[in-house]
Symmetry: C2
Subunit: 221 residues, 2 copies
């Protein structure tokens, strides 16, 4: 049977971006279906009735939702160029930090954009502390995945790439060369890698998108 | 080298319980270290400096934190009686629902305990809707893991067992035989299984613990 791979996503979603990157890096051909999240399609509601969110990967008619779950599925289904390290302890470390990026760094950034004044300052400090921990993890390795672009690189990059562009437009400074030189260099290096580079939506389109959502804070679909 | 397995936990934590269950079901001997979360030990802070939370599994001196990450580590390190199904799509399904139990059902239950009046009623309805989805998933299978006690059974059971005991003491009705007959029967069946049964702290001790935290809501360490 011929493989049928579809991805329901939203171009401005870091969680969609990570699946696009993963499929590109594995060299898997897929059909991309852009979702209008302000008017959700029957297709999305059919394939992800629990969360009604993107991304959803549909492989030979079977849907998989939740970006971290999708990444593991891709890695287990197409086993060439594995994203997760082989050794169980390194796999656990990658999964630990991926959860940290999604549940701590990203969630704290969302809170920051909704806050003002002193509260905002406090939350920004919190993000700074969280980023420091990841910077330390990266310091002795070229990639977070240690052995090349891996699961954690894909997860973290999709978030930090958005942070980097976002601060060109908004007033929140989430990642800077001065504060996080290692992470900054790493984002730059990953942006240039073949496979990654072609998956990134144009910087200008992003800037325009964020500019139009300036008042609503950290608007990400 | 002889295996050295330690578990830093808290007896009243469902997240600790799931690791105890997993180790017991795999037949792995370990040293259990009870943590006083009101006065965190240097050992816990050393092994989990990022979250400072239990459970932490320490295997031959290497720490692994976050209960879902630990479960995958256990399954990948001691490969007999696998918890996760073999087939990638079934693995993805188990991971999807495990995230759902932790990030939706458990988090909504926490919110419910802090709420009052109309807000509480709304949140309770939300939990009911979430539980219905899982009940549906379980309906056609004896276990959530399909092929025997698996990853998702361990994850969900550790939460629902606490729900079941808790409602003997508190006023929130989280799970009932009338509303969720399939889940109810499944919790009962799992409680009786050898390996699971011996890992459960005595019901009376739990009831006493919850009674003493009646005023503070859904107190779980």
């Amino acid at each position: 049977m011929a493989e049928e791979v579809k991805l329901i996503g939203c171009w401005a979603s870091p969680f969609t971006l990570r699946i696009q990157l993963a499929l590109k890096l594995k060299g898997i051909k897929y059909e991309y279906i852009e979702e209008d999240l302000s008017n959700k399609s029957p297709l999305l509601l059919h394939y992800n009735p629990v969360h009604k969110k993107v991304p959803v990967l549909v492989h030979n008619g079977k849907p998989i939702a939740e970006s971290l779950v999708i990444l593991e599925y891709i890695d287990e289904t197409w086993t060439h160029h594995p994203f997760l390290p082989k050794e169980p302890y390194h796999r656990a470390t990658a999964r630990f930090w991926a959860k940290f990026v999604d549940e701590k760094i990203f969630q704290t950034a969302l809170k920051a954009s909704a806050a003002t004044g002193e509260e905002k300052e406090q939350i920004m400090e919190e993000i700074g502390e969280q980023m420091k921990l990841l910077e330390k993890e990266l310091k002795e390795n070229d990639f977070l995945g240690r052995e090349g672009i891996g699961y954690l690189d894909i997860v973290a990059f999709s978030i930090f790439y958005f942070f980097q562009i976002r601060q060109e437009v908004m007033r929140i400074e989430l990642i800077s060369e001065e504060k996080f030189p290692v992470l900054w260099k790493w984002v730059g290096k990953l942006s240039e890698i073949v496979g990654v580079k072609e998956s990134l939506p144009p910087r200008e389109t992003f800037c325009l998108h964020y500019s139009s959502h300036k008042d609503t804070g950290f608007k990400i679909c």
